[in-house]
Amino acid sequence: MTDVNLGMPRLPAPAFPADVHERLAADAAQVIARYPDSRSALLPLLHLMQSEEGYVTRTGMQFCADQLGLTTAEVTAVATFYSMYRRKPSGDYQVGVCTNTLCAVLGGDAIFAALQEHLGVGNGETTGDGKVTLEHIECNAACDFAPVVMVNWEFFDNQTIESAKRLVDELRAGSEVTPTRGAPLCDFKRTARVLAGFPDERPGAVAAGGSAGPASLAGLRLAHGDAGAGTVVPPRSGERPAAASPEPAEPGQPPARHPSSHDAPQPSSDSDPRHPAGPVTEEDE
């Protein structure tokens, strides 16, 4: 019998200790005051819960529900929708390797595989010392610095297998680690507090990293006449990539397929070419 964890909190949730509750309630009141409607504060409050406990616990969800006059079901629905809310105890450093297409192709896949082996953990798992949680992430808007690794949502640009291994080793050793663009790393909980809307008070944290990374300045430097021009590689017409033609696993046999292939959608008629797109491309698009 497999144990299926649906992520539903067991009830009733224990309350925060009185002093913690009082402190968090004061923070929550500040967050709620930023919005015309209190429910808008739910996302920042969930970040605030992570800043207290490192992940979203049932206590945290109950707290949010109480502050905002929501049911725990409403809070759970939101907490389970967004990928930044952790649902189990995790590491001090959330290490995310971008494996969306561009980073993956440029080396993200290799980095992610190497880190899994190096740390001995799989996707979403935490090292035994509780320092590093490894995951693969989607595009983080730094494609001109690919391949990218994020630690606690700070940028580590232009990574290689070696630099990424060194990075996690330093994190586990407790050394101070500075991202490519941004402030020296703080742990997950302190990062979550910034996400909840409480500014980073460390001196120099805002200024760290300078104005822009090198790739961000590529065009500006050219416009200033800083760098020499290259030449475009024109298409070599008609040429196709050479196929390595690997040996078929079982010559003559139909390929093995995934178990539910027989459930795949049956063929359907083509769309009406006069209406290629539906109602989503009207007026305000």
């Binding site: 015309p36 929708f81 561009l102 440029l106 290799a110 996400l195 300078g210 961000s216 021009a229 989503v280």
Partner: protein, 454 residues
């Protein structure tokens, strides 16, 4: 606009590029109020506040500025849709959820020059008579969040925000709101639901946000780059803005070059520049390799090939070849890249990010992933290619929002241009490409393969 490579070389990058939003990114402390003001920042604000709100809307409309978030809807027209004198609060919501694969312009913009956005917000709020604006920033970019929080605090302290910011009795608040990781929140109505503290799922339209948006009040949702472009237009004039680009796509914009190129990065240029020109002035593809396929504006825009190097990168030009300008995220892949692998990964992304609200997208993206993984692993059948097309056709235009259309785009376009490569995976029972050849470090140890392949 057709410019040959020779002309580009003669003109030089200084003449082709047009840094406006990125112009101060190499100055020290460009992100601070002082740094921004040193370059003329907040000069436009005075001009705009001296104009009547309707005149500001008309001015922005006349400039021809179109939305930089992907759809290209005229910004001034969006503002004009806000009903006036309706007695309801109006809201401006800035979409800073930049998550479209390949797109990386708003994040460096906000890191280096957050005040251009804040000045634009104040002008826009004056125009649409709003007293509260929200910046919905994706959560996964903490250094940018720090800069935004700090810039907003500076703007309050300087009186650009807060009591009387819009003149006597005209208060203005800005709330910086960090998201929590969901691509779908870049869709404007899903963003509004998320900002209201709900799961980010798109809303049925109509009513459009201009009538019933945030808290069911009239709301303008604009991309970061759109709003940040407004101060420059007001300051330097709509004629100056219209002197760049084309009649229908005027102005400057940020192009983001990434992938197997010699010099990835941000290139701000007039609309209508071609990929050939951009590659030509930036050093081309990485040495010894050639362009195989690229996206003009993120993974949701149908991919193009080396046949399309001379397509003008404006809304009409890219549309004419069956794709979309999108976010101008030019992801370039060379001949070492497997199209099937690239499309499989994008498809996994759409399946992961599908919010689950509508059936065609939720179920369709699931099945696309199953088929793509089979094909990539050499376990597909030739009939699967028609099935892929058929499923994509059942998602495209039939989904609740554009995420479904985006999921279908890479499937349709890759089958159109690279069907033979799909067939190779099937008949050869596996992927003919070596992924180690396409990494950023693949050519590091080869013996100085430096000649540019021309």
């Amino acid at each position: 606009m057709t410019v040959t490579a020779e002309e580009v070389n003669e003109a030089g990058p200084e003449k082709i590029l047009a840094p406006v939003l990125s112009a101060n990114w190499d100055t020290p402390e460009s992100w601070t109020l002082d740094g921004y003001r040193a370059g003329g920042g907040y000069r436009a604000l005075g001009k705009a506040l001296a104009m009547s709100p309707d005149d500001v809307i008309a001015y922005v409309k006349d400039s021809g500025l179109r939305g930089r978030g992907g759809a290209g809807f005229p910004t001034g027209m969006k503002w004009q849709f806000i009903p006036q004198g309706d007695g309801k609060p109006h809201y401006l919501v800035v979409n800073a959820d930049e998550s479209e694969p390949g797109t990386c312009k708003d994040i460096p913009l906000l890191f280096a020059n957050p005040h251009s956005l804040i000045e634009g917000i104040v002008i826009a709020c004056h125009a649409i008579r709003s007293h509260h604006a929200f910046i919905y920033l994706r959560g996964e970019v903490v250094p940018v969040l720090r800069r935004l929080q700090s810039a907003v605090a500076e703007a309050y302290a300087a009186g650009y925000l807060g009591k009387g910011a819009l003149g006597a009795g005209g208060d203005l608040e800005i709330t910086v709101h960090a998201g929590a990781g969901a691509y779908i929140c870049g869709e404007e109505t899903a963003l509004l639901d998320s900002l209201e503290g709900r799961r980010g799922q798109p809303r049925l339209r109509p009513p459009f946000p201009a009538i019933a948006g945030l808290y069911a009040c009239p709301t303008v949702v604009n991309n970061v780059e759109s709003i940040a472009s407004v101060p420059a237009i007001i300051d330097r004039g709509k004629e100056w803005f219209r002197s760049m680009g084309s009649e229908k796509s005027p102005g400057f914009t940020l192009y983001s070059l990434s992938g197997h190129v010699a010099r990835p990065g941000q290139y701000e240029a007039p609309l209508g520049i071609t990929l050939r020109e951009l590659l030509d002035l930036s050093g081309g593809m990485r040495p010894g390799h050639r362009l195989k396929f690229w996206t003009p504006g993120g993974s949701s825009t149908p991919l193009l090939t080396d046949e399309h190097l001379d397509v003008p990168l404006d809304y009409e030009g890219v549309g004419a070849v069956g794709s979309m300008l999108g976010t101008k995220a030019l992801q370039c892949f060379d001949e070492t890249t497997c199209v099937v692998r690239a499309v499989t990964r994008w498809t996994e992304f759409y399946a992961h990010e599908s919010c689950g609200k509508c059936t065609p997208c939720r179920e369709g993206t699931y099945w696309l992933v199953q088929l793509m993984r089979d094909i990539e692993a050499g376990k597909g059948l030739l009939s699967d290619l028609d099935k892929l097309n058929d499923i994509a056709d059942n998602i495209n235009g039939k989904s609740f929002c554009a995420l479904g259309d985006g999921a279908a785009s890479p499937i349709f376009s890759s089958l159109k241009y690279f069907r033979a490569e799909y067939e190779q995976h099937i008949t050869g029972r596996g992927c003919p490409f070596d992924p180690t050849k396409s990494t950023a470090w693949a050519d590091d140890d080869t013996s100085a393969h430096l000649e540019v392949n021309a």
